[in-house]
Assembly symmetry: C2
Homo-oligomer: 240 residues x 2
DNA sequence: GCCTGAAGGACGGACCGTCACACCATTTGC
DNA sequence: GCAAATGGTGTGACGGTCCGTCCTTCAGGC
């Protein structure tokens, strides 16, 4: 009847993964903090406002906020000028889960697709002047070669900025998710300044290609950029 | 405080969409039928077996099967050699929802990213002989230029086959989802044989590039292929 | 110094999706 | 005719989520 291991069947009948609203909220906010999208000290919208935006009940939101507060990512302040704030001293990143490590190649492939699509569309659609903020980020990156945590956060801003250029909400969301997973994967890997410098040079070339509407060059540049990361992972992790 | 319309904030605090197991199951099976992955007359695994694969309770699975049976997509047969079968005469596709039409550009962008990533990885990784089945599909497509429904199903097989070449489960799943959304979008659009012939010629060029491990040419070919569809949609639908 | 307003914190009841389990009804093969 | 495999049905429990209500804390205005 059915050949065992047929990738189509396996995809079709793969387990239905129903994440609860609570889990998804913890993931979303946790990732945003981890990526620096919500920087230390940032104030979240008030609970009654945030639960409306997220489309969930306040009690559900509070479960998520409580969990993130207990893990040290958030800090709640009561009173009139209170609110929920991102902790000034975020807890150390926990090591990548075995589940994530097992599918690291899949994660990289996924990211390649998103980044490639983003870069091609950005090259087609970017208008003069839109690239200035990104060039600024690249300049900033040059000064962060010695501090990987800071470098990585600016790096995320760069890639998300590219995704914004496409004007596609879904690609921006996908890029955020992909960067979150990559951050988990690479957080425990040494990144010497020379490697970061070389990566940032690729950022520059990429930006130049996007500005020139040269989709082929942009695609080439991002592919090289990502393959660098992939080779490092391939050397450290079991074959995927 | 917060600038209204900031794409990052909107992504971060976008509504948390928790699909129920029931809904996701209906979507998955419904899409598979619509795409021809489960062809008319095909027998689904027994309920007790399928619910285990899907990781849901049998009662939940039955809700989904009942819904699909009532809409005419499935037919249940009792008794020892019974089972749940895909209807021989599938009901007509319902017109694309307003919600889908509203974000058609987003869907196209999304698909571009997936297809681009798939094609690049396939070009890097494909081994001699793996392309034979796909070439066969392309030959088959040449004979279906007059029957769009049949053409489209073979077309889906072609694109999913490419995704399989990457060996990435996630990309295969994403491709399946993307093809499902595209099918909804284009089902109500006229596709003259000349257009289909030209599209299939692009398939051939794409396959040649993949076989030659020429990533740049492959990317170029798929981009042209998809832009064709996009221009047709852009002409018929309100600007996205 | 008190009051108001805005924020987080806590509780209880209700609803609904999901699960696990047992059992019924139907058909086919031996 | 019996056994086995299948879809069909019902019941009770659990858990996540929602909604409403009220409490607690604290800054700022009068």
């Amino acid at each position: 009847m059915t050949v065992a291991g047929d990738p189509r069947e396996e995809t079709l009948f793969a387990p239905v993964r129903s994440q609860t609203a609570f889990e998804e909220t913890v993931d979303r906010l946790g990732t945003a903090i981890k990526l620096g999208l919500l920087p230390p000290g940032a104030k979240l919208p008030a609970e009654r406002e945030l639960c409306a935006k997220l489309g969930i009940a306040r009690s559900t939101l509070r479960q998520a906020l409580t969990a993130l507060a207990q893990s040290g990512h958030l800090r709640a302040v009561r009173g009139r000028s209170g609110g929920t704030f991102v902790a000034e001293r975020p807890p150390p990143a926990d090591p990548p889960s075995a589940e994530l490590l097992a599918r690291w190649r899949d994660v990289c492939d996924w990211r390649l697709a998103i980044e490639l699509g983003v870069v091609v569309l950005a090259a087609e659609r970017s208008e003069p002047g839109q690239l200035a903020p990104l060039e600024q980020v690249v300049d900033e990156l040059d000064g962060l070669l010695e501090d990987f945590a800071a470098y990585r956060q600016a790096d995320v801003r760069f890639h998300l900025g590219l995704a914004e250029l496409t004007g596609s909400p879904r690609l921006l969301a996908a890029m955020t998710e992909a960067q979150g997973e990559m951050t988990d994967l690479i957080s425990y890997i040494a990144h010497p300044p020379e490697v970061l410098a070389s990566a940032n040079a690729q950022h520059r070339r990429l930006l130049a290609a996007v500005g020139a509407h040269d989709t082929a060059a942009a695609a080439q540049a991002i592919a090289e950029h990502l393959h660098g990361t992939e080779h490092v992972l391939a050397g450290l992790l079991p074959a995927g």
